[in-house]
């Protein structure tokens, strides 16, 4: 009787831990495997380009930075759109399309957002 209890407990705990450790290991490897595949792909692409054209380096670099700034631009545009929408929503009726967001800068909160919104709610 005692044998079974010990057996089940030990086997059970080890199986649970083992399976979850194995899983966590696999998940931990995720980003490595994915970036490994991506790097392989872009390596072969770059090789093909170099073989074809002789001035690839400059073009590659400029296109790479352009691509990055394009990405940044797109992200910024989305951010601007979201912030403008939030401003429009909180302004309600007073909002007119003449309001344009020129620039934005993050102001570090002096107290946590929850506290601020709690204070706001109790005042209004």
């Amino acid at each position: 009787m005692k044998n079974i209890i010990l057996n089940v407990t030990l086997v059970g705990i080890s199986v649970v831990f083992l399976s979850l450790i194995a899983l966590s290991f696999l998940v931990y490897l995720y980003p490595k495997i994915i970036s490994f595949f991506k790097r392989k792909k872009s390596d072969t692409d770059k090789d093909i380009k170099k073989a074809k054209v002789k001035n690839p380096i400059k073009e590659d670099i400029t296109s790479a930075t352009e691509k990055q700034s394009n990405d940044n631009d797109i992200e910024d545009e989305e951010l601007i759109a979201v912030i403008t929408a939030a401003i429009a929503a909180s302004m309600g009726h007073e909002y007119s399309s003449k309001v344009k967001v020129k620039s934005f800068k993050r102001v570090n909160a002096s107290s946590p957002v929850w506290n601020t919104s709690g204070r706001y709610e109790s005042l209004n």
């Binding site: 209890i5 089940v8 899983l23 966590s24 696999l26 995720y30």
Partner: protein, 389 residues
Amino acid sequence: MFQDFANAITNLIDKSGYVNIDLKGLLMIFVACVLIYLAIVKKYEPLLLVPIAFGMILTNIPGANLMAEPFTEILEDGSEKLNTGGLLWYLSRGVKWGIFPPLIFMGVGAMTDFGPLIANPKALLLGAAAQLGIFATFIGASALGFTSAQAGAIAIIGGADGPTAIYVASKLAPGMLGAIAIAAYSYMALVPIIQPPIMKALTTKQERMVKMDQLRPVTKLERVLFPIIVTLLVSLLIPDATALVGMLMLGNLFKESGVVERLNKTAQNELMNIVTILLGVSVGATATSDNFLTLETLGIIGLGLVAFGIGTAGGTLLGKLMYILSGKKINPLIGSAGVSAVPMAARVSQKVGQDENPSNFLLMHAMGPNVAGVIGSAVAAGVMLSFFA
């Protein structure tokens, strides 16, 4: 003629429940009413406790025979007559045959976001540690005299997972299903009361104040691969866990793949609701006075509390170990969220952490161990089933 009339009335009275009910039945109905009060007024897991409690009432009405099994009667002239069973008997086949709990798990998977877990795979270890409660309770239950199969079913209460507990109980200890389910859901509702004292007792103030780094964003590819990998890994290791883990991950795949929005919506809403209703009523229907009003039920209730407590302690202690090993980067409070009462246990971690340090937001970090615990308890259930089913 008057005689016939008198006979008819007498028959009616004889059949009526008011005459036939005994003290035990009345007690069961009283307990059911208490549960309804807890569910509706105190809001203890009402989605399940309301149907469970009402099922309890229905099953304890004498003469209604809602749990009667169908049987074939041979009449005097030799012909066969099929007597149909009671309504609740038919509905409860979904529990007895292990259909409803995996379907609920599919809905749970469709509602679960494994992102915080993928971003921080160490949380899986915390989910595993919290399942220690299951095995400690198993030892305790066996020591108290329950058979191994019964002890296994009772122990799974510590997994803090309703469908898992019901699934295992339906296979290992069907007679205790009602008590186990009620204990499981009641304790899940009591998590905010049970956990904080244990969490505070096992951690120092300095440990509780740790603020964790933000989780990295998780790509869609990772989210889609996760359910497939988990299913393959766990099911091949423990085939008995396949029903639960497989359905959980199928639901999650519906959600993450993004190409089956209709199925995802149904799994999360209509299917979940339908199965919850049927499951609740069926589980309540097994709680007849003979099954429920026993000393064993008291044992189950006591052991359930032990299970939750040890699970919380186990997760928190491993959290402490990880705190030390990671160079004070991991807050031990998220360990207790490995007790897979989603999302209650994660919210408890958040609240206790915030009590110490108002700007500490542990919720997302605690969700990792919380959902890991769901997987962990399904694995533990598979182990119990593989041994005793």
